[in-house]
Amino acid sequence: MMEVPLFLRGILVITGKNMRLYYTKPPVLMFGLLFPLFMFFAFFVGRHLDLVTFFPAFLAMMLFFTASSVGPLITPWEKREKTYERLLSYPVTQDSIILGDVAAGAFFGLGISLLVWIASTVFIPVAITSPGLFALAFILGTLACAALGVLLASPASDSPPNVMIFSNLIRFPLIFISGIFVPLSQMQGWGLTLAYCSPLTYLVDLFNAAMQGTSVFSPLVDCVVLIGVSAGFIIAARIIQKRNLVKGM
């Protein structure tokens, strides 16, 4: 029973260490902050789109990029610097490390996206129809996206650039199939089938429900899917990283 407080303390210390070390790393700033802003300018500015209608999707995209940008960097960076081995020799387990990485990504996503939302309210009249759902969307969204980021860092690599490229290969297609640029209600055929497979779709839908009161799925379905994928990503990361450790990688 002594192990539970030790386990929780490990997660807390690792989260703090990640926040201190990785939030200002160039790949995180590049892929977590600049890319979503560029995407916003590229797709929304000058196209006479109704920004209020598209704001929930933009917020989901911002949250997705920020929360999933920290995770892919941490493990390969630590393996390259050989600090991962020392970390494992501290009173922590691989699970504490994974959860600490997820928490660091989630806090980054939460902080930046909240700032973007607050700043946006100055320029765009964004309404919130359900504050509870809005808060839930933030929490579950950051958790799912941060867990995806940690999963993307799980392949046995000690090269941060390789992992960042791999993570972008996965992350970029997701924003095109998740109802951000084309609303889900206007999708059909393969596009719609692919959209159902993307966790980001459910986050966009939940933000739509929270901010505009309209959604394709029930908010309950969105929440269950986001909780489910978060757990799935963390379990998958755990299995892959454990296997890597057994193989000595």
Binding site: M2, E3, L6, R9, S89, P91, V92, L245
Partner: protein, 305 residues
């Protein structure tokens, strides 16, 4: 009580068996040297003992706590210094130590007191706020050691701690090992530096090709191979190997500006050298004899296995 007990550890990487049925016991308060040539399985064994790697079979107890069943409790007992100086380069020495202290649950006041103490001991007080990535290898290793001993561990694991260090840093590391041992810590030292093991350790264990081939005190290991002794000689001018084709000389090896002669009859060799030097008008500038070395035992054990 035993500080470390490992039973029947096996670790395979694909078709390669890196560690094959290794069992060892380290008594509380002992300095235990784990020797072996490169690739013998030293680091893999140490990784299993410290809970970094999971063995395929076997058990590890640290102060009686099973590291695979209660990893956090077991790791609280130990400090680990991995092979390369694995500290965070983007943090200062002080921040690295705070991180370590937090990992071991040390309260802030205690942490700060201990950090002051340990940075002074490591000669890093004036560099406490400088980023570690700007440090030399020796300084990084000192920070790494400081991180591992901040909580005064009961068991300290060191993997090649002096490898590639300058003389000053090496002395500081050895002094710290002595000090930790005097304060009651059990030391598990992985090395291929035989002289280091000889001077530091009460027990030496030799591993080769994943198996333990010998475990005893350095003195007893030496005595296992006490047939061969050596004579080191240097002259006032260069000589060739032909000079050493004399009675009782089994082998002659150049050793810097000296020659090391292996013999089972040092008396005959000394008489031969003095006589030969006189005949050739050579001046003997130094002449020393030494008993069987741990190095000889190590070479014998790792070559024969």
């Amino acid at each position: 009580m035993n500080a470390i007990e490992a039973g029947h550890l096996v670790k395979r990487f694909g078709a390669i068996t890196a560690v094959n049925d290794v069992s060892l016991t380290v008594r509380e308060g002992e300095t235990f040297g784990f020797l072996g040539p490169n690739g013998a399985g030293k680091t893999t064994t140490m990784r299993m003992l410290t809970g970094v790697l999971t063995p395929e079979t076997g058990t590890v107890l640290i102060n009686g706590i099973d590291i695979h069943r209660h990893p956090l409790d077991a790791k609280m007992q130990m400090g680990v210094i991995p092979e390369s100086s694995t500290v965070y380069g983007d943090m200062s020495a002080e921040q690295n130590l705070h991180l370590s202290g937090k990992m071991y649950g040390m309260p802030r006041a205690l942490r700060e007191k201990r950090i002051d103490e340990i940075l002074s001991q490591m000669g890093l007080s004036d560099k406490r706020r400088i980023l570690v990535r700007t440090f030399s290898k020796g300084m990084k290793q000192r920070v790494s050691i400081a991180c591992a001993i901040i909580h005064r561990p009961k068991v300290l694991f060191l993997d090649e701690p002096t490898s590639g260090l300058d003389v000053q840093s090496r002395r500081l590391v050895i002094e710290t090992i002595h000090q930790m041992n005097e304060q009651g810590s059990t030391i598990f030292l992985t090395t291929h530096n035989i002289e280091e093991a000889n001077t530091l350790c009460q027990t030496v264990c030799i591993i080769n090709k994943g198996r333990i081939v010998a475990q005893d005190s350095p003195e007893r290991l030496r005595k296992m191979f006490d047939t061969t002794q050596s004579v080191e000689v240097s002259f006032d001018r260069a000589v060739t190997r032909d000079l050493f084709a004399g009675e009782g000389i089994l082998r002659a090896e150049p050793c810097g500006d000296k020659w090391r002669l292996y013999t089972d009859n040092p008396d005959a060799v000394l008489k031969y050298l003095v006589g030969r030097a006189e005949r050739e008008s050579l001046g003997i500038t130094s002449l020393t004899t030494s008993g069987p070395s741990l190095e000889e035992a190590f070479v014998h054990l790792t070559e024969c296995a």
